[in-house]
């Protein structure tokens, strides 16, 4: 079914003589070399390049999310290590000052209550970062 779904847009999925198929994750196979006219080939090439880039961007997004999770878990494990490790330590100092900055600036209510509802600035800041990221990658 999947293959048929593509046909209206790519009316030439049949393999040209002597050609080969290039696999694209998340999209139909690309028959190469392109046998259509130059403009069509340029357009089709663009479709595949753009799609591969989109896939890369979505994996980068998950990479960033997982990366944050790994760093978070590592720091959490470190911090839960007990009071013995809490003495000094650059990481602990950085974490503590991040906590203080978070409390001082981001704990208060976010503006635009009618829009966001009653929530902290931290929540809205995280949303803003997420939206910015998505806008850039769109």
């Amino acid at each position: 079914m999947a293959h048929n779904m593509l046909e209206p847009r790519h009316s030439h999925v049949e393999l040209p003589p002597g050609g080969y198929m290039v696999k694209h994750w998340g999209y139909g196979d690309e028959p190469l070399p392109c046998t259509s006219d130059a403009d069509t080939c340029k357009y089709l090439d663009g479709v595949y390049v753009m799609h591969d880039l989109s896939m890369k961007y979505s994996f980068i997004m998950w990479g960033v999310l997982l990366g944050i999770a790994v760093v978070w878990v590592t720091l959490r494990g470190w911090r839960m290590g007990g009071p013995a490790q809490k003495v000094g330590g650059v990481i602990d100092k950085v974490c503590d000052s991040v906590e203080r900055v978070k409390r001082k600036w981001l704990l208060k209510d976010a503006p635009l209550k009618y829009f966001f509802g009653r929530t902290t600035r931290l929540q809205v800041a995280i949303l803003a970062i997420f939206l910015g990221y998505l806008l850039i990658f769109s």
Binding site: D39, V47, S54, R103, K108, G117, S138
Partner: protein, 486 residues
């Protein structure tokens, strides 16, 4: 965006379709993350320690982002197929006969439904139960339609469906385990029958639930989801347990305070004096106090006391140094509200004698003088012996004589018989949180040590407390947690 006429007659090629696909791919990738944020059995909570409720804000907004992405993707392809590809609209109609286009339209419809019917004002109109059922079904249908639309990106959709199934499965598993498993004495389904009491009068009525249940102890500050099968099997709501867990016992006593509003709480209030079956799932949420107990400030508004009361009692029991600054602040509408937890409150007052650092401050926001009501508890045939001449002999109070003997009267609760106990009747305004926090911080900073501030109550109070906490200066570390009741 470039647009050029293609060699085939009437077909203009643009990059709009490319960009629409970019947005579509990102929305697919975002779907499992958005689902993950909504789960109660939350993997992120296990990993990061952030309570699952805190992810709700991002879940809602990412849901709207997906809606916007779906709308842009649909609009983009509609423009391409209906405008750029000629002859219009024949090409468009032909395009719409494709299965993937049909599934795409369905997915767009489902995401529209999910977005509109999860708006607060719409939920108020349709009711919570409708929202809860249709949101879950709608989400599964949306994910299914997305799968049908572009099955080559099935990985994101399978991940989303697995997350939903796991969440629901673990919830059900935990409920079954609590009610059927883990018991030495009995096999099969163990029922929990909660005794329903209505306390208070006028606009200030709460429902108190009490029951014993054979299970392991939870941690103070944690909450359970309660479902009342005789009222509805489709609803379960989170409530914080105000009773102390008993580590040495395999039977725990649960106490809950619910403000009687519309909906299910009103139905419960109508059952006052009777027993009602409860199905529980939990415990959820972080336990308190964290780390070694030192200075603790617990601020509660109204029924938020169910969160702070066990935390304060646990903190006092765990104190390493009895001089630690511990303060219990409870803001209530009327003095009679102390009767919600009268026995527990008497115990807490008694702890003033052994803990020189403990302070109890009660703020009454709607009374200038304490009104001693006739009736405080569920109706009973036995009138309460009253020392107050204002109380008539017809006062119908209290459950039984044995309970009665355990209960201190309101006058006793309000009696200023200790140094560090205060009751302020504020008439018609609220205590200012900065004042409460500053006075605690002064004493805590003088002594030094780690500070924990916990609170629960109306959202407006949470805002005030958060603002007050954001302005404090401390040197040995501060942990703040607001248990939202949203």
């Amino acid at each position: 965006m470039y647009a050029e006429p293609a060699k085939q007659p009437g077909k203009t090629r643009t990059t709009l379709g490319w960009w629409s696909n970019r947005v579509g791919v990102l929305s697919y990738a975002l779907t499992p993350f958005t689902v993950l944020l909504a789960t109660r059995e939350n993997v992120l909570t296990i990993l990061t320690g952030i309570p699952y409720q805190h992810f709700n804000f991002l879940h809602r907004w990412l849901g709207r982002v997906i809606f916007a992405q779906a709308a842009l993707h649909t609009l983009g392809w509609t423009i391409v197929e209906a405008y750029y590809y000629k002859p219009s609209p024949d090409v468009y109609y032909l395009f719409l006969t494709n299965m993937y286009a049909v599934f795409g339209c369905l997915a767009t419809l489902f995401i529209c439904f999910l977005t509109v019917f999860s708006m607060k004002s719409v939920i108020r109109w349709t009711g919570y139960e409708f929202f809860k059922i249709t949101h879950l079904i709608g989400a599964v249908l949306y994910i299914g339609a997305c799968w049908g639309h572009w099955d080559k990106l099935w990985c994101w959709m399978v991940a989303s469906l697995i997350l939903i199934a796991l969440d629901q499965g673990v919830r059900l598993g935990r409920t079954i385990y609590l009610h059927c498993g883990g018991s030495k004495s009995s096999l099969g389904f163990r029922r929990a029958m909660a005794n329903v009491q209505m306390i208070g009068e006028g606009d200030d009525v709460i429902v108190r639930l009490d029951f014993d249940f054979e299970q392991e102890a939870w941690e103070p500050g944690q909450h359970f989801y309660l479902c009342f099968p005789s009222l509805s099997i489709w609803q379960s709501h989170p409530f914080t347990v105000s009773s102390m867990p008993d580590l040495s016992s395999n039977t725990q006593h649960h106490t809950y305070l619910l403000r009687a509003r519309k909906g299910q709480t009103a139905q419960l209030a109508a059952l006052a004096g009777q027993d009602v079956q409860v199905v529980i799932t939990g415990p959820y949420g972080p336990g308190w106090p964290r780390h070694t107990t030192d200075n603790v400030l617990a601020v509660a508004g109204g029924t938020g006391v169910t969160f702070t009361m066990p935390i304060i009692i646990a903190s006092l029991r765990q104190l390493i140094v009895p001089q630690a600054t511990v303060e219990f602040v409870w803001v209530i509408r009327r003095a009679q509200d102390l009767l919600w937890l009268n026995k527990e409150f008497v115990e807490l007052k008694e702890m003033l004698a052994t803990n020189p650092g403990l302070r109890i401050s009660i703020f009454v926001t709607r009374e200038d003088t304490p009104h001693i009501p006739f009736c405080c508890n569920r109706p009973s045939k036995q009138p309460q012996p009253s020392q107050d001449p204002e109380k008539g002999p017809s006062s119908s109070v209290a459950a039984s004589s044995s309970e009665l003997s355990n209960r201190a009267t309101l006058q006793e609760l309000l009696a200023i018989d200790q140094d560090r106990f205060s009751v302020e009747l504020l008439g018609s305004h609220h205590p200012t949180m900065p004042t409460v926090v500053t006075s605690f911080m002064e004493r805590a900073n003088k002594r030094g040590g780690y500070i924990q501030v916990v609170g629960s109550g109306p959202d407006s109070m949470g805002s005030d407390l958060r603002t007050a906490i954001s302005q404090v200066e401390e040197k040995d570390g501060l942990d703040f947690y607001w248990d939202s009741r949203e």
